[in-house]
């Protein structure tokens, strides 16, 4: 098949702008060949080049004493003591998952796993953040079932436990779901591998699956809006092969035990192109590739297709000269091919051959890291977003008990058991606390240490107030890991937004980045990796800003961790933090009254930090027995969740003083920076004293009792429910959506 003639129009069809076309002509000093045009289009796509987000991402704090590798590599690396480090990242697979939920989600997991093991880390935990349309949207059930099965089947087969995440439903995702996959791996701090193509004459090896016409132009698809009809024009969907991934993982890690690899990188979006250009770009070297040697799955493939294919389960390795044989040996033990397809040069150019012709000859630098950078126009909405909080009469229409059952049984807040029983949570036998708590806790064998992990974002808050929403996402993540007794140490993010060419979207983006940055600064959690997904928009309707935060915390002594649940009768229940009954942005108003009310709860990051330090102290000193943060659904939902310990029916009797607040505000308000902790009665003075020293308000609100949750306000019983009933409602919440 002859290549089409390269014209300006063809460049437009590739998603390039007129300005970018001129730039290409200037860089090359001639018109590009068809494969070169393909390379520019993917390398300069939003997905690969971050052209709209780059100037904003610079504002993230990215350094810290623990950071061994910040943004810019395949994943971030943070030191966790005793010579160990963790490597983690989160990535979106939103568009592919909407088109084909099972394969889209599965290959999303595959991609993020490769990003982590390419750094030399053995993946030990997966998490995922899923955002679907409204629960009763006709597509939601199919998408939910497909995505969950896809994530499970892939991670289960590779043998990585999936230990947590979040599931959110909101109409803003009706036409654009979000699938964000997170992986954390473990490595020795002095054995980090990077994507460098250095050392002139070193061989470039292709390892893993053969190349087919899979997902050609997936990267540019992730950089364009959906419209009626794109569902038809879709490129070939990629199918995941988790068995091959497992072999690839083992082969790479085995090879990494020796001194053979100079640089390594997975072939993700934009496949062979992005891996070779990025590796040469980082090293400031050149690269020569011979496409005839690329293992092919289909007949008649062209250079363009070979360069742009997104076939899964492939990696590129630059090995030390003369050690190719060893690479082949290890890969053949794992029944995989390793083929030398080129070598590192000192020309600073990518020279790519096909049947003896040089089909690509372009400078690496300008393509890989001098991609266009845009400071796109930003504009705040003319009218602040959100409705007012309804008056007391409206709130009084639902009794507190009904409201509590309504919230914990709502698809948004109910148990995720249906989801996570489809995930292998315990393979590798490191899972100390799996899904169902505030944060997952995964131990590091051979030490007393563990990591605590949480994914968080409240898109409604980000919509109402992108700055605060971004800051809250970080604060909640950090609070979740602190409730497990962990110290928050670093963050990865996945920033899901609408069309960046819209000033209001760009404003949301910039504000979210500022909020995330500020919270990360105060909480001492640098951003070490991340991902941006723009164009989550169908027919002009964009999603709410959704900056998913992946928080990583460190538990130094896993025996001094906390769980979220009430367990022991007679324990005192203490509410830490201040309750002002803030209903703006609450789940209560949204889920029960269909009101997205402003403003979002204020966030005092210094107080947040004080609370989190206190929680860690209570855990370390073994003063507290449990800690659970108050987030969606407020104090009452937090209390109900704390009653739902596996295999126990401990409840609580809470006696609250209204302080003049409406019951709904007191029970369901979502004031930030609060947690419910329990302790032995004799430790109560120590808890209160520690809180006092930390300037964290603390109120004794009740006792752990068997079998029932009762809540009295000013002496009046407002809630009196059997724990078994709460459990039943909570477990049944997803049935109408998933069942």
């Amino acid at each position: 098949m002859a290549d089409p003639k390269v014209t300006r129009e063809l460049a437009f069809q590739h998603g390039l702008t007129g300005e970018e076309w001129e730039r290409i002509l200037a860089i090359l000093g001639r018109e590009p060949t068809y494969p070169e045009l393909g390379i520019f289009s993917v390398m300069w796509s939003e997905h690969c080049s971050y052209k709209s987000s780059r100037i904003h991402l610079r504002r993230f704090p990215t350094a810290g004493p623990r950071v061994l590798q910040g943004p810019g590599e395949n994943a971030g690396v943070v030191e966790v003591g005793e010579g160990w480090a963790v490597c983690f990242k989160m990535e979106s697979h939103n568009h592919p998952s909407y088109i084909e939920p099972y394969q889209g989600a599965a290959t999303g997991v595959g991609g993020i796993l490769r990003d982590v093991f390419t750094m030399g880390a053995r993946p030990i935990a997966n998490l995922n953040s899923l955002h679907f349309g409204r629960p009763d949207h006709p597509k939601t059930r199919h998408l939910l079932r497909g995505v969950v099965a896809g994530i499970g089947d892939y991670g289960n087969c590779v043998g990585i436990p999936t230990v947590g995440g979040q599931v959110v439903f909101h109409p803003c995702y009706d036409g654009n779901i979000l699938v964000n996959a997170f992986t954390l791996g473990l490595l020795r701090a002095d054995r980090i591998f990077r994507g460098y193509a250095s050392g002139v004459g070193n061989p470039v090896l292709y390892v893993g699956s053969k190349t087919g016409r899979d997902g050609i132009h997936g990267a540019t698809m992730a950089s364009a809006e959906f419209s009626e009809g794109t569902e038809q024009k879709r490129p070939t969907v990629q199918v995941g092969d988790p068995f091959t991934e497992k072999l690839l993982l083992e082969a790479c890690l085995e090879l990494m035990e020796e001194d053979v690899i100079v640089g390594i990188q997975d072939m993700g979006a934009a496949g062979l192109t992005s891996s070779s250009f990025e590796m040469a770009g980082r090293a400031g070297s050149g690269i020569r590739l011979d496409l005839d040697r690329v293992p092919m799955r289909e007949e008649g493939m062209t250079p363009y297709e070979l360069l742009l294919s997104e076939s899964q389960e492939r990696m590129l390795i630059v090995a030390q000269r003369g050690r190719e044989g060893r690479v082949k040996e290890v890969f053949s033990k794992w029944a995989l091919d390793a083929v030398a397809i080129g070598e590192v040069t000192d020309t600073g150019r990518a020279e790519i051959f096909w049947r003896g012709d040089k089909v690509v000859d372009m400078p690496v630098g300008p393509v890989s890291d001098q991609a266009p950078v845009y400071d796109r126009p930003r504009e705040a909405p003319a009218v602040p977003r959100g409705a007012p909080v309804p008056g007391a009469e409206v709130l009084a229409a639902v009794s507190p008990e009904e409201a509590l059952l309504g919230l914990i049984g709502h698809p948004d807040l109910c148990s995720r058991r249906w989801v996570y029983t489809q995930y292998d949570q315990s393979v590798r036998t490191n899972t100390v606390l799996g899904p169902g708590g505030d944060a997952a806790v995964v131990r590091i064998k051979g030490t007393k240490r563990a990591v605590a992990l949480s994914l968080d974002v409240n898109p409604r808050w980000c919509h109402l107030d992108p700055y605060l929403g971004g800051a809250h996402a970080v604060a909640e993540g950090a609070r979740n890991v602190a409730c497990a007794g962990a110290k928050p140490i670093a963050v990865t993010d996945c920033l899901n937004f609408g069309n960046p060419e819209r000033p209001d979207v760009m404003w949301e983006f910039s504000r979210c980045v500022d909020g995330v940055s500020e919270a990360c600064r105060v909480l001492d959690t640098p951003v070490v990796s991340g991902n941006v997904s723009f164009y989550n928009e169908t027919n002009g309707a964009g999603i709410y800003p959704t900056p998913t935060i992946g928080m990583v915390g460190l538990v130094e002594d896993v025996d001094r961790r906390l769980e979220p649940w009430f367990r022991t009768e007679g324990d005192a229940v203490v509410l830490l933090g201040e309750t002002r009954g803030h209903l703006g942005g609450s789940s209560y108003l949204w889920l029960l009254h269909s009101v997205e009310a402003a403003p979002v709860p204020p966030l005092d990051l210094a107080r947040e930090r004080a609370l989190q330090d206190l929680l860690q102290h209570l855990a370390r000193e073994r003063i507290a027995r449990s800690a659970h943060d108050c987030s969606e659904g407020g104090l009452a939902v937090a209390a109900a969740e704390a009653c739902l310990a596996p295999r126990t029916d401990a409840g609580a009797r809470l006696r609250l003083a209204s302080g003049g607040l409406e019951p709904a505000a007191l029970l369901f308000g979502e004031d930030a920076s609060r947690a419910l902790v329990t302790c032995r009665p004799e430790d109560l003075p120590r808890v209160l004293e520690a809180a006092g020293r930390a300037f964290v308000p603390a109120a004794v609100v009740g006792r752990v009792t068997p079998g029932r949750l009762t809540v009295e306000v000013d002496g009046k019983t407002l809630v009196d429910l059997a724990v078994s009933r709460i459990r039943e409602v909570w477990h049944g919440g997803l049935d109408p959506v998933a069942g």
């Binding site: 092969d241 068995f243 497992k246 794992w334 489809q422 036998t429």
Partner: protein, 230 residues
């Protein structure tokens, strides 16, 4: 005691099984690659869980046809101990050392959760230290654990006391609600005729120390150790 943990392409609970063995101080364990043919040195062979060959075609089908399985058959034939966990159980059925087959879970989904196992017989090297009727809390993690055998086989298994474990309620009773995958007669694990081979879907190695949430699974390996007189 010398323990062999067999590694197939795609196995992913192999190291969990190895570490489980290593926690028993009297045990020495070694990983055995699927191409090896000699297991004469081993006292106990563990076929680990976890997606050999991706569970493609049928779970355990391809692993059952690897060279090492001839050695496993020989070892079992001589009365050597073999423990198949999850995918290992599926492999033992595929190769015919144990009767029956494991079908897709009744829910048609993968299931990972804690279950209660009722010990049905103490008369085996793996269960000698576990009282009949007592319960173990151990996780399952599988998509195809729905035990199937023809009525005649089931009759024999029951008659010969070769059902080792059944899925049970926390009070030890049997009911469909507590049989997570729809297995025939709630069967979770079975023995061969010689009682030296046990296949089971649940993962005892994932319930073998307090940090994992349960230590109930440790009893299996401890029993085996005792049976081997070490």
């Amino acid at each position: 005691m010398n323990i062999a943990v067999v590694e197939f392409l795609g196995s992913n609970c192999d190291h969990d099984a190895e570490q489980w063995s290593l926690r028993l101080s009297a045990a020495r364990s070694r990983m055995v690659w699927y191409t090896e043919r000699d297991l004469s040195w081993a006292d106990l062979v563990i076929l680990p869980g976890g997606f050999s060959y991706g569970d493609y075609l049928r779970c355990g089908a391809m692993a059952a046809r690897t060279p090492v399985m001839e050695a496993v058959i020989a070892h079992a034939g001589k009365g050597g101990l073999v423990l198949g966990i999850c995918n290992g159980f599926q492999i033992l059925c595929e190769v015919g050392i144990l009767p029956g087959a494991l079908l897709r879970n009744q829910t048609l989904t993968f299931l990972c959760q804690d279950v209660y196992l009722r010990c049905e017989t103490s008369a085996s090297p793996f269960t000698s230290g576990i009282a009949e009727g007592s319960l173990l809390r151990v996780p399952i993690a599988h998509g195809d654990g729905n035990y199937f055998a023809d009525p005649e086989t089931l009759r024999r298994l029951n008659g010969e006391g070769r059902v080792a474990f059944r899925y049970a309620a926390p009070d030890g009773s049997l009911s469909p609600e507590w049989n997570p995958n729809g297995s025939a007669e709630a069967i979770a694990g079975i023995l061969n005729e010689g009682r030296n081979v046990l296949g089971m879907m649940p993962h005892p190695e994932r319930a073998s120390e307090p940090l994992m949430g349960s230590s109930d699974g440790a009893a299996l390996l401890r029993s085996a150790l005792q049976a081997l007189g070490s």
